[in-house]
Amino acid sequence: MPLVRSPSVSRAGFVRLCLLPLAVVAAAFFVLPMARIVVVGASGETGPAAYLAILTEPRYRATLINTVLLATATTAATLAIATIAGLFLQRHRFPGRAVLVAMLTFPLAFPGVVVGFMIILLAGRQGLIGDITSRLIGEKLVLAYSMAGLFLGYLYFSIPRVILTIMAAVEKLDPALEEAARALGAGPWAVHRDVILPALGPAFVASGAIAFATAMGAFGTAFTLATNIDVLPMVIYTEFTLSANIAMAAALSVGLGLVAWAILTLARSVSGGTVAAAG
């Protein structure tokens, strides 16, 4: 035992000390609760088989399919819209462009509940779309309180995020590749199909995964629009609060968490970046 502790030893001790608060907080409020929910999920009448109910029970399976279809549709539509707008905004400079970019990104900080309210104002019973359609075709079109409303809500939520990612990716494209393609006689469509879109692949995967995971797991928008929309987060919520079927709610939550996590991890390994859901 040396008389004077070398600085490297005391530094190592200090570094460990720095990790202590994190270890305590993460263990108490994340790792332990997660372990608990996995245990509770297997503690219902059916035991661990509850984890299979999401696939075997027709009601839950239908909900799962609904949720996946909604998330897929949202992701595809968001990517298409954001790519057209993002490419356009990054490729052209015109007066008012900065304002347009600001308008497209300012809903970034809106939580899901507020997005739900935006959709009610747009397509609800007193909404703008209903107003316009009742004047034009004499019939009030109300989309908000259904799957269509949820689709619009997730579109609203995801477009700003995806546009930012796409714009950043377009900025990093190598213009020499496009010039080369053009010099070789490729028309604008061919350049887009063979050069630009493939180069944006990683950005599509990363931002598409976020849009997908958000649409799978977000709760606020659906909660604001209607509590009887048949998507997984709403079913978990009603199982827990109305049916007091706590074990089933826990098992479904674990399933939902696993799906969201798997998609984001897969996307991260493909795109190499860091990917996070929001909601």
């Binding site: 530094r11 570094v15 609760p33 995971a213 919520y237 939902l256």
Partner: protein
């Protein structure tokens, strides 16, 4: 001619997308200050709904700031030292720890809230207190702070700085306070703004964790959407916009600056 046409079509498309995002927000702001939304602006402008929101929901607004402030304190105390330690340690264990604390970004808030309820629901004093909401917000926002600070630390040469200070005889905690923290400041500021913005708007966890006595602003918003007239709900949303939009702007500026510090550091 064809290029002009394509340009116009793309511009029109982008304008439509912007309208989809902006029009409802503008409608909601207008509805919040309109005497009667169904009769339109012609019914006159008023602040009565904002006043009513203040009377009904001032408490939720104050509580949201309290929760966000406390969350920030905990996340700073936990996240900044952790980011430093994870940066200097490196290795597989550090990557694993980082992986674990980043998980709450992938797992839906509903599941995390349920897990917290199942674990701590029996501790009724804690369950009933606003600190229960803070616990959820800490789990959810911590990864943003850790990653923001780690990104800045990764760009500066922490090791050389640390060893330089050590050679001058500074003990580790002083080196951390006087050398590491000031150098990591852009990351800490960007992280802090993100934490506060996210905490103020958090609903997925909070809806499950709150009690009738610990309602926050987003919980109150959901409440007003379900049970109040449209003007009141809109005025409440307007109050939220006024709070959150400056924060969002500051957050983006800080993130740009932290990114700038990062790329500056990367230059040889």
């Amino acid at each position: 001619m064809r290029a002009r046409l394509i340009f116009a079509a793309q511009l029109l498309f982008t304008l439509l997308v912007a309208a989809f995002l902006i029009v409802p927000a503008v409608l909601s702001m207008l509805a919040g200050v309109t005497a009667n939304y169904f009769r339109g602006i012609a019914s006159g402008l008023t602040l009565q709904w904002v006043v009513q929101v203040w009377e009904l929901y001032a408490e939720t607004i104050a509580r949201s700031f309290l929760v966000a402030g406390m969350t920030l304190v905990v996340v700073l105390a936990v996240g900044v030292p952790a980011a430093y330690a994870l940066n200097v340690r490196g290795g597989r264990l550090s990557r694993m720890i980082e992986e674990i604390i980043t998980l709450p970004l992938a797992i839906p808030g509903l599941a995390i809230a349920l897990a917290l309820l199942l674990t701590y629901g029996g501790f009724s004093d804690f369950r009933r207190s606003w600190l229960f909401i803070v616990a959820g917000h800490v789990v959810f926002t911590l990864p943003f702070m850790v990653r923001s600070v780690m990104a800045v630390l990764a760009a500066i040469d922490v090791k050389t700085l640390d060893e330089g200070a050590a050679s001058l005889g500074a003990p580790p905690w002083r080196r951390f306070r006087d050398v590491i923290v000031p150098n990591a400041r852009p990351g800490i500021v960007a992280g802090a703004l993100t934490v506060v913005t996210l905490s103020l708007g958090e609903f997925n966890l909070t809806w499950m964790l709150h009690t009738p006595l610990t309602k926050t602003l987003p919980v109150g918003l959901a409440d007003s959407y379900a049970s109040m007239r449209l003007e009141v709900a809109s005025a409440y949303t307007l109050v939220f916009f006024v709070m959150i939009i400056p924060l969002l702007t500051a957050m983006q500026l800080a993130a740009d600056r932290a990114g700038g510090a990062r790329s500056k550091g990367k230059r040889p």
